[in-house]
Symmetry: C2
Subunit: 225 residues, 2 copies
Amino acid sequence: MRGNLFAVAVDLVILTVRADRLAALLVRRGIPPFQGELALPGGFVLPHEDLLDSARRELAEETGLSLGDHHLEQLASFAAPDRDPRGRVLSVGHLALVPDLPDPEAGSDAAASAWHEVAAIGALAFDHGRILGEGIERARAKLEYTTLAATFCPPRFTVAQLRRVYEAVWGTALDPRNFQRKVTSTPGFLIPTKEMTSSGRGRPAQLFERGPATGLHPPMLRDPA
Amino acid sequence: MRGNLFAVAVDLVILTVRADRLAALLVRRGIPPFQGELALPGGFVLPHEDLLDSARRELAEETGLSLGDHHLEQLASFAAPDRDPRGRVLSVGHLALVPDLPDPEAGSDAAASAWHEVAAIGALAFDHGRILGEGIERARAKLEYTTLAATFCPPRFTVAQLRRVYEAVWGTALDPRNFQRKVTSTPGFLIPTKEMTSSGRGRPAQLFERGPATGLHPPMLRDPA
DNA sequence: CCAAAAGTGTTTATAATACACCCATGC
DNA sequence: GCATGGGTGTATTATAAACACTTTTGG
């Protein structure tokens, strides 16, 4: 082992759907480098910490989420020699999908963090723009073959809420009728409850919970606009 | 930046198809730890080197391949605190798909390396068994949605050769007639040449070259056994 | 001639799409 | 009643899969 040592960080692409728009949690940096600029939440890996544990810890610190059944996965590593002016830093990007949360409140590390609609995000510190881009791309791809979309929803949700998640992430319109049949007939996607939505215009909708499906399912439908 | 520094290595899952079997290039370790055991090719990242450059360099050293149009991509990073007895080492796994090559010859680093049929590979040094497993899984998944299978083939190949690649990687039998129509009708997959195979039993087959397709194509067919 | 592999055409099953239509609520 | 969204049924279309058949070589 030689002296070519790296600092190792984890950075998080934390996505949610708010007001029918895909949004990411970003922090405004309080210290150099890139002071005052927007960046992904993240930090250095502790001496005896595994990568996912480190990402889970950062996620909890930034969002207050204890990440019970939420989704967290490794994205990719970024280690361009000049990506950090302080020296050689390898960052392991992670992707988290969380339900719509109340705005991050003051206190702990979350003070400087806020949700930003992804369509309106400009340049970020370091190479975080690229990491964010890969996270969004991965999320879009995974919705097509997994039941992960439900992780964007609260514990109980309607089929229409779930559909709006797909529409927000993909930026397309889906046929509500075909969507309904598709998701309700995919084994393990949705667990029906006996409750219905009480308020709102139109006929009340049945409430569902996230099913246990982890793996793949036949492709989701993408209607033309 | 604190003293929690890591050594960073790249390890390579180098896959090929030899004699209709999926095979990986492995090295036998000449020094501790895990002296004498089989491991993935790899090594430490140099001070000013990017990850893919480092992987390309290791690939060239181990196989002699200059990696013109061959495939190389990052897989994932592995950093369990105890994965290397020498200390904290983060390894960035990479996946390379190469055509069937002559056996690695003595000289350079390739001396101790050899192809191993993946079905016959036992325990590997470090956590390389897991990295290999993820590489194989990724390769299997990507054949289904990309035209990557052709990177396992020599510069000119027949449809039957390409089919045997799918059959080797997936371990399934495919219908030669449906396969033919499928691959020849996928835009950008195959470039037809005017040449035919000269020898061999049966009717001569047309030779093709790798097409330019990079992205996705409709799912490949998987026939039942 | 026969066996073997290449390649084409046709039929059948399955899944995706489009869309007509009925249901249950708020106003 | 009427607008709004929830939910079901069905026709149409694309695609995958199964397989009969012709072509072209070597022996």
